[in-house]
């Protein structure tokens, strides 16, 4: 069932992100939704002259809808309150609103704005949150995402992840760009441009740096790059291939896959390239390492049992133990923030799909209905998984809620997007 198609006009994006010369915006299409959704009336805030577009309630409303946990109540034709004293709760209960978001924007000197917003419980007729922001025009979208985060947390008890960022690689012709964008795909900023492939971007735990694999040296080499000043260095450029980097939760140590001693093995190395230590042994493939959030366990893909499967081992070294048993191809593990779940790619009857694996019970749920899914990663709040898939012969990015019920596709026309990673 198609619930909503949200289109962000190019014009607005160009206005907002002019310093980054964004050429195009991603379109977002949301399908499905949770069984019981919270009904929120996003009442347009009292506008200020010269305020950026789209409206804050539009951006925040799209965020909330993409999570699948909310549906928007029609606000047309009703008296539109800007402050709690003006709210006629009868009207909003009549439209079956569970909650109400209202506010006002006031222009300040120097193209700044004062934003006040209130979250109200329409049933209990109480105020759940009230915030004010003094922002520049360039903080407009970020403020809308913060409002959505607050609404999500107050109404579901779980923090929102709308202020987080994603990284992905886009390919146009023979040009590769590593991009960092807002979680809704907007505000894209190119951090690496290359005529050679770039794969496996990974945000540092604090979001300030990004690891990736670049082929610009005629072979795969692991780089780390600051997202603040763009400075970068090679972390692993040993003889053979260097790939599959992963941050330890402390942001200092990394796991990488090297072939310097024998076929694809996992090593630990410091982010400055020092302190190399080998972790796995044997002539089989060991790759795609990822740390648990407490840093004590490594999950990885190995063919040591005869087919590609997920294994786990102590991050300090020790005996690997097989985790995935369903099917002959399970790869690309990601760990949920609470450590209870893995998301990975499972191949069944020639289809590659994202599955969610509850570690305690071993229960597996297929989250997607596409056929060529890759590179799953969890939202910082653990409520959704970002992945790459192929649609119409073109790479696109998608998110799916962990209950599998809400999917959103992020795509930009004429561009091949792949290798997504969800960051802080």
């Amino acid at each position: 069932m198609l619930r909503a198609v949200l289109l962000f006009p190019l014009v607005c994006l160009a206005l907002l992100s002019a310093p980054f010369s964004a050429r195009a915006a991603m379109e977002i299409e949301v399908v499905g939704g949770a069984a019981s959704q919270i009904a929120v009336a996003m009442v347009p805030f009292q506008a200020a002259p010269g305020q950026p577009a789209p409206a804050l309630t539009e951006i925040a409303g799209n965020d909330l809808e993409r999570s699948g946990q909310f549906r928007r109540v029609d606000v047309g034709g009703a008296q539109q309150p800007f402050s709690p004293a003006q709210v006629n709760y009868e009207v909003w209960r009549g439209r079956s609103a569970d909650a109400l978001v209202i506010g006002q924007v006031t222009a300040l000197p120097g193209r700044r704005f004062d934003v006040r917003f209130y979250l109200l419980d329409a049933v209990k007729r109480t105020q759940l949150a009230a915030f004010s922001y003094n922002i520049s025009a360039s903080q407009w979208r970020a403020t809308a995402h913060q409002i959505a985060d607050i609404v999500h947390e107050k109404l579901t008890g779980i923090p929102g992840a709308f202020s987080s960022r994603i990284a992905y690689v886009q390919k146009q012709g023979k040009r590769y760009e590593l991009r960092v964008a807002d979680a809704d795909g907007q505000n894209p900023r190119t951090v690496v441009r290359s005529s050679e492939p770039v794969i496996s971007p990974r945000f540092s735990p604090d979001g300030a740096r990004v690891l990736y694999v670049s082929f610009e040296d005629r072979k795969p080499v692991v780089y780390v790059q600051s997202l603040q000043d763009g400075g970068r260095r090679k972390v692993a450029a040993f003889k053979g291939s260097n790939s599959a980097p992963a941050w330890a939760p402390d942001g200092k140590r990394l796991a990488v896959v090297l072939t310097r001693d024998e076929a694809s093995q996992i090593y630990l190395i410091n982010a400055d390239g020092s302190g190399l230590a080998r972790l796995t042994r044997g002539g089989n493939i060991d790759t795609e390492p990822v740390f648990s959030r407490d840093g004590k366990t490594l999950y990885f893909t190995s063919d040591r049992g005869g087919s590609a499967q997920i294994y786990q081992m102590p991050a300090g070294g020790g005996e690997p133990r097989r985790v995935s048993f369903s099917g002959s191809y399970n790869v690309s593990p990601a760990v949920s923030p609470d450590g209870r779940y893995l998301a990975y790619i499972n191949r069944e009857e020639g289809r590659f799909r994202v599955v969610l694996h509850e570690l305690a019970s071993g229960q597996i749920r297929v989250l997607t209905d596409t056929a060529r899914d890759e590179s799953p990663s969890f939202a910082p709040n653990g409520q959704a998984v970002l992945y790459a898939t192929v649609q119409g012969g073109r790479g696109i990015l998608g998110t799916v809620s962990v209950d599998g019920k809400t999917r959103a596709r992020l795509s930009e026309s004429g561009v091949d997007a792949r290798e997504p990673a969800w960051g802080p």
Partner: protein, 183 residues
């Protein structure tokens, strides 16, 4: 294989052990807008034309046996069956010729570039391509070629010779290319 070469090859292997590039290096900042205004690419970032099939004859001295279509040295690709890492017998003469060349020119270097088809995980395919490169490296090693003259690397699914999603294309992409350092 000439047994007299063995001590020399061993010495080469040992002397090369310390030279693998592990030193972290700061390179040109190509972030964001700065990159947009920089038209020139850093040297060595464009590898098109180095895969075996694409090398132009003019890049090498005339009479180079590696360019002679009649020579097995002009053959550069080893193809693999699905999910297999076994070098088939049909590639024996070709690899023996390359081993002979490398043994006769001890300053020659060869890069063994493994590739995979594009189904499944990019990182896992990188490891599969590496396995194919290692398979060829081991054959050359058994034929007496020094490890110091060889580097096995993988392009995974990133540089398909045939980008189509057909069985023929997949088969074409499951391969290792033999590429010389001066090409």
């Amino acid at each position: 294989m000439n047994k007299i070469l063995w001590p020399i090859l061993l010495a080469l292997t040992l002397s090369a052990c310390g030279t693998t590039g592990s030193t972290p290096a700061t390179v040109e900042d190509r972030t964001g807008d700065k990159a947009a205004t920089t038209a020139a690419k850093p040297a060595g970032t464009d590898t098109t034309g180095v895969s075996g099939a694409d090398v132009s004859a003019s890049a090498l001295p005339a009479g180079d046996p590696r360019k002679d279509p009649a020579s097995p040295l002009s053959k550069r690709s080893v193809h693999f069956d699905f999910d297999s890492f076994v070098v088939k017998d049909e590639y024996r003469p070709m690899l023996e010729a390359h081993a002979g060349y490398l043994l006769s020119k001890r300053d020659a270097r060869v890069i063994l570039q493994g590739n995979a088809d594009d189904r499944g995980s990019r990182e896992y395919n990188l490891a599969l391509g590496q396995k194919r490169a290692e398979a060829v490296r081991k054959v050359l090693s058994v034929l007496g070629v020094s490890d110091a003259q060889m580097e096995a690397i993988s392009f995974g699914e990133e540089k398909p010779r045939n980008p189509a999603s057909t069985e023929e294309a997949y088969a074409e992409n499951r391969r290792t290319d033999v590429v010389y350092g001066d090409e």
